[in-house]
Symmetry: C2
């Protein structure tokens, strides 16, 4: 029964989330019951959706209960097993939360999945070949559904979702344009991730300026947009959408902190006969096998080389999460625990 | 060659549209060429979409050219024909514009359609059994696509589109809730149009108050919304949408006059995984026969008894159009020309 560092949600944010919303505690891992598995986490995933869970909201997915271990995706290794399908040494992905170890009812569908690390590094199962990758796949394939030659745009282009989106779009013959914050991220998006162009939104003071920049790199307009941020970026993209364009709404980071961000001109949805659709990828488990197969192949063949920002040790998780919400990470944000 | 009163678009609105944007002139109808038909208009249709055409917009449908007869749907009677399929006395529906007569190239597909006035009054072919009715049909059937028992809501509920929407929704076993301006319209929506409930938005000072009223009459939430107005009403409905709800965006009257109206909380599209889709019914001609058959039957059997507000004489059209934009009409706004 090893000691287990854990991070709990201690109190809910009033406006902006802060590290003081969390509390680090140490407990003992309990003895295993039949059917349970003890997993030692190698990496914890930090994702924007976690900010939404910190609110006491009735309408959204599930609110994170106070005083419990923060929800989160994890990859790690089985260290003890009372389930016949899992052996010590197995590499697994699950939802272990912000802690060093988790005890998992391994028979529960979807609770724990063995993964092969021959061609794909373990950490990538939290990013390109995990939930973020499937998120990009669903938005692109099921909502935007582009033809070869279409122009598609993604915000937060160098993040875990955005970088997978770029590779998936290029594989379909699209013109892929990214939006990211800062010249380094934009350079990386084009040179390493294969985007045809990338716009630094920090160079633009308002939506009209950003829309003008989009016009230059999307000379035929925008057919599909994958929304990760909301706010000014969405306003700008709406000004350049083609008739019958599709917008997959996956994230509104900018709006997570307290006040909602308005949409300046919703009449453009009518003017351009757009389809705007929100989704949560965990509600579409039926697409995961197909999506993961494609994503694994893209990573295995080097066509998708995702970047990671890695914080060291569980205690660093809250600060790293604040950085993620402010866009300080570069690529997938992880916490390395071992 | 009878004298033909016509209303031209004289200049474009700066902000709010006014009667001074139009000019009344008189011309002579030209002699007919082969294949042409002379139609005397009995009724001219006034519709919110016309406000959009008055702007000099590159992205929307087609801008109304200055100095030309305002676009508009008309019903009337053939008075002279050089086309073998049309005879004097035929009742026809077309896009004759804001004038007393039109000369139509009758062979052009969709230019002129003969209608039967045995069971359906001629004017209804501009409303319930015409473009507005098909608009309601498309939004309900093709975008909202409700199951029996779903709750669907429509704004501008007593208008031409809204009243058809109510009848079509009831025919599908839905709970139909209207939103309209003033107690008379709300009473009429429930007592004459068959809505299960109708909310007077003028009784509410903000979206939260209106959302509370919606909660009372939509105890199971809202599954589908047909958007005719935008602004506060859309903000309020978004607060009450169920997960996986559908919003058909057909009109944003409130935003037509100059400044765009923002959407307060677009993140709700993500939170509730909504589909929001704009459409223009003239781009979906393939559904018109099916829709018109159902709408004609609803009117012919008395299940849809649309109300009309009728202005007298062509010269009254601009003033009546201003009233329509301000919601002063009660039901379908027409101009009677004969």
């Amino acid at each position: 029964m090893p000691a287990n560092q854990q991070i709990l949600l201690d109190n809910r944010p009033q406006g902006e989330a802060t590290v003081a919303n969390f509390k680090l505690v140490t407990s003992q891992t309990p003895a295993l019951a039949d059917g349970q598995v003890l997993v030692r986490h190698h990496f914890l995933s930090l994702d924007p959706y976690m900010r939404g869970r910190m609110n006491d909201s009735k309408s959204y997915a599930a609110s994170q209960p106070l005083g419990e271990v923060m929800i989160g995706g994890t990859v790690g290794e089985v260290v003890e097993s009372k389930h016949p399908k899992f052996q010590p040494g197995d590499k697994v992905v699950g939802m272990g939360g912000w802690q060093e170890y988790s005890v998992v009812d391994a028979g529960q569908p979807g609770a724990l999945r063995k993964v092969d690390t021959t061609h794909v590094p373990l950490s990538h199962y939290l990013g390109a070949v995990g939930m973020p990758g499937v998120t990009a796949w669903y938005g692109l394939v099921k909502i935007i559904n582009p033809k070869a030659g279409d122009t598609v745009v993604v915000s937060a282009a160098t993040g875990a979702v955005g970088s997978a989106f770029g590779a998936l779009a290029k594989a379909r013959g699209c013109r892929a344009v990214g939006i990211a914050g800062g010249p380094d991220k934009c350079k990386y998006a084009v040179e390493e991730l294969g985007f045809d162009a990338c716009i630094d939104y920090k160079q633009h003071k308002d939506a009209y300026s950003l829309a003008k920049a989009l016009k230059d790199v999307c000379p035929k307009g925008i057919d599909g947009y994958f929304e990760n941020v909301g706010g000014m970026v969405l306003d700008a993209v709406l000004l350049r959408m083609n008739a019958f364009g599709r917008i997959a709404v996956c994230g509104m980071i900018a709006g997570y902190d307290g006040q909602p961000l308005p949409l300046a001109n919703p009449a453009l949805i009518l003017v351009n006969r757009l389809k705007v659709e929100g989704f949560i990828v965990s509600e579409h488990m039926e697409v995961w096998p197909e999506a993961l197969t494609e994503l694994g192949t893209l990573v295995g063949t080097g066509k998708l080389r995702p970047r990671e920002t890695v914080a060291q040790g569980l205690a660093a998780a809250p600060e790293a999460f604040m950085g993620l919400l402010k866009g300080k990470n570069f690529g997938k944000q992880l916490v390395k625990l071992i």
